[in-house]
């Protein structure tokens, strides 16, 4: 990081980076020699460098004066406003409601305790023992939500519903590209053709081999191909869980559990 002390002037004392003692390790040596701000010169007994030290100039590193000189404790603080996030002042990692693993950070509280769950008979959840595959739903550039399956030009570009599955999973199940398959979650079934791809790779999560499959949401229910009986009338959202996060209230459609079989 270049320091140009003769270019204009910055308050205070023409210092360019506040708390620049933090750019050095405890011994006073720059963390990154290419982007030196200041450093401790033992012979001179003071802090020197390109920038004006934001520090007591003769404080020896052995004295362990903290770089954040405006705080009594001398170290940085994390700041979070109260009441902005429903589930705590700081973000925390929780596993999805349906997850192939327990949260490695705190297995006893694997999922967010504040997610909103509905209680209808359709709001069932699957276990990783029965539903071992992670499913993600998404949209395609060729289609707009559920509208454009009524437009012949868009239907022509993506004529049939498909499910993207990894080559390795397809081999295990004996599925070939364009085979019709069923995707089953605890809540419903979706029928589409298999799109066998190398782009989705198996993952090792917490020591377990986990497959992820991808499912565009556009087809199903009614459209040109559906009305003519070419596509199944099973919308992708029959599979997804209706649980929402406590802050943005976004449903958990990017990570839920399914199993697949040949249709």
């Amino acid at each position: 990081m270049g320091v140009f002390p003769n270019w204009a002037w910055s308050w205070p004392a023409n210092r360019r980076v506040l708390y620049n003692r933090a750019s050095c390790d405890p011994a006073g040596k720059p963390w990154d020699a290419d982007r030196e701000q200041i450093r401790w010169n033992d012979a001179a007994g003071k802090w020197v460098g390109n920038d004006v030290p934001d520090f007591k100039p003769d404080s020896h590193p052995k004295d362990h004066m903290g770089p954040f000189i405006m705080n009594p404790e001398g170290i940085g603080r994390l700041f979070a406003p109260i009441g902005v996030l429903a589930d705590g002042p700081f973000p925390e990692h929780y596993e999805p409601i349906e997850s192939p693993i327990k949260n490695p950070l705190h297995p006893e509280q694997s999922t967010n305790p504040l997610v909103k769950k509905f209680t209808s008979p359709f709001d069932k959840f699957g276990t990783p023992e029965e539903y071992s595959i992670v499913c993600t739903t998404y949209r395609l550039t060729e289609q707009y939500h559920y509208w454009t399956k009524n437009n012949p030009m868009n239907v022509q570009l993506i004529p049939e519903p498909f499910v993207e599955i990894p080559v390795e999973l397809a081999d295990e199940k004996g599925i070939r590209g364009t085979d019709k398959i069923k995707v089953i979650s605890a809540r419903g079934t979706y029928i589409a053709k298999a799109f066998v791809t190398r782009r989705l790779k198996p993952m090792i999560i917490d020591g377990k081999k986990v497959y992820q499959i991808g499912l565009p949401i556009h087809q199903g229910f009614r459209g040109i191909d559906e009305d003519e009986g070419r596509n199944a009338r099973t919308p992708a959202n029959l599979l997804t869980p209706a649980v929402t996060d406590p802050n943005a209230h976004t449903p958990e459609s990017k990570g839920f559990l399914v199993k697949i079989e040949k249709a």
Binding site: E142, Q156, L157, I158, E160, T178, F195, R198, R199, K201
Partner: protein, 176 residues
């Protein structure tokens, strides 16, 4: 825009004046394609169809994002999707635009092809349509088609040829 309103540049195998030539010269457009910004939305495929007056044709899924395996006589602009492995082992999709490259100066209309096929009409900014008058001449190959975008297949005396191909053959496949 329909085909009728586009400009005819040249007709091969035609001794006299070119009918309709120069009628529509006030506009001149060129097409620049930046493949690095392609996200594979295929809007250009649809735009090409609508510009040239072609409508919906039935397609089917074939284990790809690609609309169909090859360009067709009524489908001149096709984005080809290739799964590509990066050096670090991760995957990406490469999108390549396959389209008719014959704008104002089709090579096919000016060389050996002209002697074998009765008539080739070059339409500005669009593809070359070949109109055959004699079935024996259909044996000709489009050996000099640039970019292999427009190709003619041998053995076309066989009755299996689809009528559409008889009228105009545009395919990304190289002549065999």
């Amino acid at each position: 825009m329909s085909q009728a309103s586009t400009e005819i540049v040249r007709i091969s195998g035609h001794a006299g004046a070119v009918a309709g030539a120069g009628l529509n010269r006030e506009y001149q457009v060129c097409k620049l394609v930046d493949t690095t910004t392609c996200i594979g939305c295929k809007a250009c495929e649809v735009a090409c169809l609508e510009w040239n007056g072609y409508t919906f044709s039935e397609t089917s899924f074939h284990n790809s994002y690609q609309t169909m395996p090859e360009t067709a006589w009524n489908y001149w602009n096709l984005i080809k999707f290739n799964e590509h492995e990066r050096e670090d082992g991760s995957m990406m999709l490469l999108m390549r635009k396959d389209q008719c490259m014959h704008c104002e100066a089709p090579r096919m209309a000016s060389s050996i092809f002209r002697r074998r096929i009765a008539s080739v009409v070059a339409i500005a900014l669009q593809a070359v349509r070949s109109i055959f008058q004699n079935s024996a001449r259909r044996r000709a190959r489009f050996s000099n088609a640039p970019f292999a975008m427009i190709a003619y297949r041998s053995g076309l005396n066989r009755p299996a040829l689809r009528p559409a191909r008889r009228a105009a053959c545009i395919s990304a496949r190289r002549p065999t």
